[in-house]
Assembly symmetry: C2
């Protein structure tokens, strides 16, 4: 029996064949990070990638160990005015309340619809459970998932005036491509629900759905009209933030990672960065600093927790203001 | 800056370059499943792989959708006399009891050390928690993980008289290789603890640690001598069996899968097979039937649950007795 080579395989083979004969320009003569200014940050990134991919060099890392994990909101896309996953979640909640108005009486739902952050916070753990219950409202995981991408392509980001699906930071898009071209597997570890994030990751970041780690609600196996489905069971399985992030990474990947990207502003990424830094061997932690009020947003933790950690543990801080020529690409 | 091509990349490129010019023998002129008898089962597998990889054909499936998940114990390796992960877990427990004899007083620990299955069952959920607590006994995840592979290479399987690390079913080894050669990603979904299974999967099955789904205990971020670590927190996070298997697959991969392999004997794989069967488009479910008392073990569920499900839902049953020439390879 003979199997056909797919066109994608042929292209990959042809590209690799060319590389064998002409050498290996992992990113050619061109600057792999054109929207990054020529600052020490850019140099640190390029040096790191060069050193871990230099076979025979002291810092060489085998390809199967080249795994990079990035936070999403505030690291790959803007976190303001709302995390991107909230766009489809809000739409589901508005839709459920329109169908069943009494659902709007739950304190957390009312708070979210009014964007009342204090009331939302006051609703606590029960509030999160209520929001999940209303947003999912008896739907299967398949039904929830299929609504995500269309909503993100339809609704525009208020500041950048492009659909949410197009709000990837240009510098991070280039960094993801650089890593991938150098044999890395890119992953996302986000506080947002994984059911939502994996529906946007391939299109937005070229990261396939099996490389998503995120917060998640419990599901259970069930039947609908004789067909097997998964439905939500009313529990919270994991909140993927702060000290939960190294736990989630270890559960999914089982090792300390070579590259971690996160951001200051929510204290959520320091633990996974520390856990990477304590890897045996080289590693790189990038902390995006939201210091560009003019082109993006300027916000900081009141106690400077993440930036302090960067100094203490040796994370590389990325200044959006100084290190990036462009925020959102065309 | 110039990046070097690793020797592995050069080999891959050369192999692909050759394939472009000479055609694409996904498994050459040779039989890709030499240890399978020429039965309808083998034919069904080869036909399925041929049809989903035939570009332009009605059943063609893009490479990123070609994901195969296999149960481990009883599907890729013998489940008897004990699941393979129990070998290092038993060693950890014996070691802990030797250091702290009072730990042996816990009913579940005493039952396990005496191999008293009834008493083990009677210890229930608390028993499982006790076993985890004693097996981990304050160790970090790194410390537990590093002991697994050496133990499996040292201890021999009582029936096959090779180290446990060498007990892969030859037919399944060939099937994994066939799938991989045809663009599939192979994963494991096992009831055994993922902390253990991912330490043996690369060496035994050529499956990297990030493609392991399994039962797992809760961990928490902590510090030891200023270094960040993960330690067990005394909770059970997931029991990856039965109806929990599609839940675990969906959490890790986020889609219904093209190929599922499982076995009769423990009722544990039917739910994930059904969830795959209800995929939109082609799919293949393989159920290993332990019907070879002479060469392996013969055991069956008292009510024939899994074999009944195979008939009802159209899973392909693999008879170890009739379909396999060899059980464990040399």
């Amino acid at each position: 029996m003979k199997m056909l080579l797919s066109s994608r395989q042929i292209l990959a083979a042809a590209a690799l064949a060319v590389l064998v004969f002409v050498g290996y320009p992992a990113y050619g003569q061109d600057d792999p990070l054109p929207s990054w200014n020529d600052t020490p940050t850019k140099k640190a990134i390029l040096n790191f990638v060069g050193s871990v991919t230099k076979e025979g060099g002291p810092d060489f890392v085998a390809m199967q160990e080249r795994v990079a994990v990035f936070d999403m909101d505030g690291t790959l896309v803007p976190q303001k005015p709302v995390p991107i996953a909230l766009v489809p979640v809000m739409a589901e909640i508005r839709d459920a309340v329109a169908r069943k108005p009494f659902l709007g009486d739950k304190p957390a739902v009312a708070a979210l619809l009014k964007r009342d952050e204090d009331a939302l916070h006051a609703a606590g753990q029960q509030g999160v459970l209520d929001l999940i219950a209303v947003a999912t409202d008896g739907k299967t995981t398949d039904e929830i998932a299929q609504n995500v991408q269309p909503l993100l392509e339809k609704e525009n980001h208020p500041k950048f005036d492009v659909p949410y699906a197009k709000t990837v930071y240009q510098g991070m898009r280039e960094l993801l491509a650089l890593l991938e071209a150098n044999g890395f597997s890119n992953w996302i570890s986000s506080g947002s629900p994984v059911l939502v994030t994996r529906e946007l990751s391939m299109e937005m970041f070229d990261i396939p759905p099996e490389r998503l780690i995120g917060s998640n609600a419990g599901t259970k196996f069930d039947e609908r009209d004789g067909r097997s489905v998964l439905v939500f069971d009313g529990t919270i399985n994991a909140i993927n933030d702060g000290a939960g992030k190294p736990v989630g990474i270890n559960l999914a990947i089982g090792k300390r990672l070579l590259v971690i990207g996160g951001n200051e502003g929510g204290r959520g990424d320091v633990a996974m960065m520390r856990w990477s830094k304590d890897r045996n061997g080289p590693s790189l932690q990038l902390l995006i600093n939201h210091d560009d009020a003019a082109r993006e947003y300027a916000y900081a933790e009141s106690d400077g927790y993440s930036l302090d950690a960067a100094r203490k543990y040796g994370f590389q801080v990325v200044s959006m203001k100084d290190d990036w020529k462009t925020i959102i690409g065309k």
